[in-house]
Symmetry: C2
Subunit: 349 residues, 2 copies
């Protein structure tokens, strides 16, 4: 089947290619009549401009990339949806790419930027372990969103970030559990690498315990041993089972991701334990699903929509030269649901 090009359209309308180009790209210098005639011909012939040729010419494509690490976490799915909508509004294309656990996101970014000649990058999730030198090789603006903490050593003016203060909010959750009278609080983490979100949330946990004069019991710090560090329900389930098998007593379980918490819920149920009757459970993220579990899940709700919108808005502003690099921290909201209760009741039972 024949694919018409811009030349064919030009011939059909008896005009030059540049006139057609102007019509397509809404240039001001064009006679409305000719433009209409051209647009009609385009519709009729089913002509669609070749993206490759455009991008080749334009030196940079009207597109951004979203590089996401840890797709298994439903939290990101929500963010992507919002980011995609925002891109559509701006008529930007969005290149979505997953990054494997063992890949270096900045390396991938570099490759993608050169391959696709795009205008900006959003890093979603993962952890920050890049040298400033490496970052500076990236020729387009980029925004880190929902990544682990970024070392102070990196110049704040060389990148943007959108985040919540994972360490602080995590501590807040543990404060709440302690406030309910819990002292033997287990924590479920999937990854604990340096600078990762998991690590930060673990630190918050330790902060809070220490602030309340409670020693951290290493036996209650539960980490998956698959090394993959997925925030998955399966991981939450398996790790909780191991915790139960260890017989180490606890009255509350804090999972650093809702997906983990949901797996934990199931494991406790199978062990014949009531939530929150026997054990209180708290999650983190505030994903949709947390509202529908039985019992519903107490969690730290991150403002997904706002964060996603802020991320894209910031990136577009930087691309347009309308903004400098910024660091925006959102507050998470402690959403108290059915899965947590006073320890006193627990002890009685």
């Amino acid at each position: 089947m024949f694919e018409p090009t811009i030349k064919d359209i030009a011939k059909m309308c008896g005009v030059g290619v540049s006139t057609v180009s102007r019509a397509i790209n809404n240039h001001p210098d064009i006679n409305p009549e000719t433009k209409e005639r051209i647009m009609d011909a385009i519709k009729e012939s089913g002509y669609v401009p070749n993206d490759s040729a455009r991008n080749l010419k334009r030196v940079d494509a009207k597109a951004i990339a979203v590089l996401i690490k840890g797709i298994s976490n439903p939290f990101f799915t929500s963010m992507i949806k919002v980011i995609e909508q925002e891109c559509k509004k701006k008529h930007y294309a969005m290149e979505l790419s997953h990054i494997e656990a063992d890949e270096d996101e900045v390396d991938v970014a570099q490759k993608v930027v050169k391959e696709k000649r795009l205008r900006g990058i959003i890093f979603l999730g993962g952890l920050f372990s890049h040298s400033e030198e490496k970052l500076q090789k990236l020729t387009v603006p980029f925004v880190f969103s929902a990544v682990g903490s970024i070392p102070e050593s990196i110049n704040k003016n060389s990148y943007s970030s959108i985040s919540v203060d994972d360490r602080k909010e995590s501590a807040r959750m543990v404060d709440y559990l302690i406030g309910l009278g819990h002292t033997r609080i287990a924590i479920l983490i999937a990854e604990a690498e340096e600078q990762s979100i998991g690590k930060l949330r673990l630190e918050g946990y330790c902060d809070s315990l220490k602030a309340h004069g409670i020693a951290v019991n290493p036996k209650l710090v539960c980490q998956t041993d698959d090394g993959l560090g997925h925030f998955s329900m399966e991981n939450g389930y398996l790790t909780t089972r191991k915790l139960l098998e260890s017989k180490e007593p606890f009255t509350a379980l804090y999972a650093v991701a809702d997906a983990l918490a949901i797996g934990a819920l199931r494991a406790l149920h199978e062990a014949g334990l009531e939530v929150p009757g026997d054990v209180s459970i708290a999650g983190y993220d505030g994903i949709d699903m947390a509202n529908y579990t039985v019992p519903s899940l107490t969690t730290m709700h991150q403002p997904v929509e706002e964060m996603a919108k802020a991320t894209t808005k910031l990136l577009f502003n930087i691309i347009a030269g309308r903004a400098e690099h910024q660091h925006i921290t959102y507050k998470a909201e402690l959403v108290i649901k059915e899965s947590t209760d006073y320890a006193a009741r627990t002890e009685k039972s």
Copy 2:
């Protein structure tokens, strides 16, 4: 910052551009020594070929597109992951694009094909409402995966499809529920447009009831009224509440998607009903989450991984001219978990 091109590499190595091109693309006619020298220079300079220029020249990009309708259904998330892996293996790029509920997937496909010059398309989800004429305008091979039924009127040799027999498997689930003694079985559907998956599963429901001499009670056919037809937990929750408010008695609830079932689980819990004590619940899809709900969910498990692999494999084979169009139907597996029980017990309570 300066971006080296193939010419720069050529100059650096004192060779012609074509030699560099040959080195990059693993052409046979090249001296291993020169090739090595070139590859070194490429690494050193950080050169990455410009995808746009490549695709422009190559008339078709080494890429396929996945067009997905209904991203909110977690079932698709799993499929995408597998498809992506398969693409990586074949060194194909994968363009992922969501289709809005009101968009026509074939129109979008046409646009994407022309814009990106890609080699094939996978349609994921949605329903089939396209004229053969329109389909034939698509110049690249395409495979429908997990879409609703395709009208007999369309020539089977003009497209491929991977699916499960939704109508039959749906009936099988209802057979099972009836086998447990249930007769007042409600059904939860999100969309019921012609040819949609929802419609097919509804038909299977009716088939089974009729085969067992049970009349279909329209009051037990529950459909969301948001018109969007999302397979979301929220939809399942809200629709179930409406059903409960209607006071129409039922002992079993069949949700045509697990996400809906999870919402239903919650709604019943809030109404003080036990599952499966008071009401049995069954889902459809077999998503991961179904194993972790409390109670765990009886569901029709679709072989996601196999289907996704078959889809990509088939598409690549057709692209390579190694295969004709095919229609593969997979069997779903009835996975019996905790959420369903004999009606007898229900009646007693």
